[in-house]
């Protein structure tokens, strides 16, 4: 519901709708569940320079659930990685903002994702590389919940624990709806926290829309000195849009009409 979204969260959502309007399509539900996670990361946690995206001392953020890129584009534009007007070109042939984010095209995007289960293995490699270089930069990987159906995540999780990658944090956007329907029905992830613990992670759970709680938790990283961290973010798919909240029909939408778009803007008034 929108009543607990403050003006900044609404503004970021407006940017996402601007992009949706431009492209006429997009993963609305999957993007709206992670707005507050990205907001807190980019407002208060990550070290970066928007004018110098390759700055070697930056923290690395990997959006493993690449289909949520609308939210990433919105925050990157907000932070000045590229002009905000570019959002309007989303998915167009002359735009660098595609339906999944690409490294080398979009400033601030660390890895090309979209195929699921790739972000965490890459994140393990980066975290390991940073350790070898004795860098104090950190790696954050945001995965979807349906995404962690992929076995590659669990291969990477074993490796992260083996290498005691305390500079690596995986955040799971646990909105509990995947493309077909509830994660509980498609392929139940529970007991999710216990799974990550069993794989050697320090685990915490948080309301993924609670700004203060997210900040408190992320500022206390790593949770354990010699372990990677997993943060299960309990979120609402389509957060802020009553017709889309918890509705798998809004995981991805194409052929959006002007009235669809207007009704989205109306939700944020």
């Amino acid at each position: 519901m929108t009543q607990n979204l403050d003006s900044r969260s609404k503004e970021l959502r407006r940017s996402i709708i601007d992009a949706l309007k431009g492209g006429g399509r997009g993963h609305l539900g999957s993007s709206m569940s992670m707005v507050e996670i990205l907001r807190v990361l980019y407002d208060s946690i990550l070290r970066y320079r928007a004018v110098d995206p390759g700055w070697q001392d930056r923290d690395r953020f990997i959006l493993s659930k690449g289909h949520g890129c609308l939210a990433l584009y919105a925050i990157l534009a907000d932070k000045g990685f590229f002009p905000r007007e570019e959002l309007l070109g989303f998915c167009r042939s002359d735009s660098r903002l595609g339906g999944h984010p690409e490294r080398g095209k979009v400033p601030g995007v660390e890895a090309s994702t979209g195929a699921l289960g790739h972000g965490l293995p890459i994140g393990v490699g980066i975290a390991l590389g940073l350790k070898i270089k004795r860098s104090d930069s950190r790696v954050m990987v945001l995965t979807g919940d349906g995404e962690i159906n992929e076995g590659s995540n669990w291969e990477a999780a074993m490796s992260a624990a083996k290498h005691q990658l305390s500079n690596l944090t995986v955040m799971i956007d646990y909105n509990k709806i995947q493309s077909y329907g509830p994660t509980k029905e498609v392929l139940d992830l529970e007991p999710l926290a216990d799974k990550w613990r069993a794989f050697g992670f320090a685990v915490s759970e948080v309301d993924g829309h609670d700004i203060a709680a997210l900040e408190r938790l992320l500022m206390s990283l790593p949770l354990v000195d010699d372990r990677p961290t997993a943060i299960i973010c309990h979120t609402v798919k389509g957060k802020g849009f009553p017709f889309a909240e918890g509705n798998p029909e809004w995981h991805h939408k194409s052929g959006l009409t002007e009235s669809d778009i207007q009704s989205m803007y109306d939700c944020l008034n």
Binding site: S112, G129, A156
Partner: protein, 309 residues
């Protein structure tokens, strides 16, 4: 050849701190000296090829040059999406050292044979494919691998193969080697099949035929100029590879012929593995014989071509 490749990884790691090694679950003691010397650049990650390729990509993003080693089929089929997206789409300098290209693991059956690896690696943009003909050439190649800016698939043979390469030929990625001259026909071969092609050309030489051998160690990018110089001159061309003919090295040569449409197009025959999973075990040699990939068979195909002109 594998021993030479891994020794080179250790050597390279000594003078370039970007070099590191990642194995899956290899035999005991692999690169133990490197492990002792550079423990922070030596990894044995377990049977997790999807993760390993992604991890190598992440390390390469941080400026490292990972050399990844395991059985060829698990480094290609098992993690094809990771190779395509993590390595090729990002165009990262990761090296895949693939044990047992072709029928090397014959006794272990079709789950362990890498027969389509050339075809599926060829299909990926930015991928480079190298198949040296012996351990000496492997060493020459490995030193050239260091600063190549793209991913490389390195196809290894069984090991203990004869040395047929010559230092005077040198090594340049993407440039084939005319290892034997001959005006009537030419074998174009890759990997250790160059050894079989040389043997076949000797058989034919004793019969009075002058048959050349072009060794194409880099299957991708293909040496267009070198290959086309033979195509435009030779009467008969026979390609030889230890892999499925569908989409493999011979197909690459035919595609080049088709694209360039030379005025003089010789008959091109492809020798390789037919479109079927092998049903027999035995040894690599028994499989090669069953596929008619022997010096005698090569000579016969070339002889038929020469007779048919």
């Amino acid at each position: 050849m594998r021993k030479a490749a891994l020794e080179c990884v250790h050597e390279l790691s000594r003078f370039d701190e970007r070099v590191l090694f990642i194995g899956s679950d290899l035999g005991p003691g692999v690169l133990s000296k490197m492990r002792a010397e550079f423990p922070d650049r030596w990894f044995m990650e377990g049977v997790s090829e999807q993760h390993i390729v992604g991890m190598a990509a992440g390390l390469a993003m941080e400026g490292f040059i990972p050399y990844v080693n395991t059985i060829a089929t698990f480094l290609t089929r098992r993690c094809y999406e990771q190779v395509a997206v993590d390595l090729c789409l990002h165009d990262l300098p990761v090296r895949l050292i693939a044990n047992g290209g072709g029928g090397v693991y014959a006794p272990l059956g079709p789950t362990h044979l890498a027969l389509e690896d050339i075809a599926i690696m060829r299909a990926l943009p930015n991928m480079t494919i190298v198949a040296p003909c012996d351990a000496d050439e492997m060493r020459r190649f490995m030193h050239h691998s260091l600063n190549w800016p793209h991913p490389i698939y390195i196809r290894l043979a069984k090991g203990g193969d004869s040395i047929v390469s010559d230092p005077k030929h040198g090594f340049e990625l993407g440039r084939s080697i005319k290892i034997r001259e001959g005006s009537e026909g030419v074998f174009m071969s890759t990997g250790v099949m160059t050894q079989v092609a040389l043997e076949a050309s000797e058989i034919l030489g004793r019969e009075g035929h002058e048959i050349g051998v072009r060794h194409v160690h880099t299957i991708k990018p293909l040496d267009r100029d070198g290959v086309m110089s033979d195509i435009s001159r030779a009467v008969s061309v026979v390609t030889v590879e230890e892999g499925f003919v569908n989409g493999g090295f011979g197909s690459a040569v035919l595609e080049l012929c088709s694209e360039t449409s030379p005025e003089h197009l010789p008959k091109v025959a492809r020798i390789g593995i037919p479109d079927a999973f092998p049903t027999a075990y035995g040894s690599q040699q028994t499989l090669l014989s069953s596929w008619n990939i022997t010096a005698q068979s090569l000579a016969m195909v070339m002889r038929n071509h020469l007779g048919a002109r």
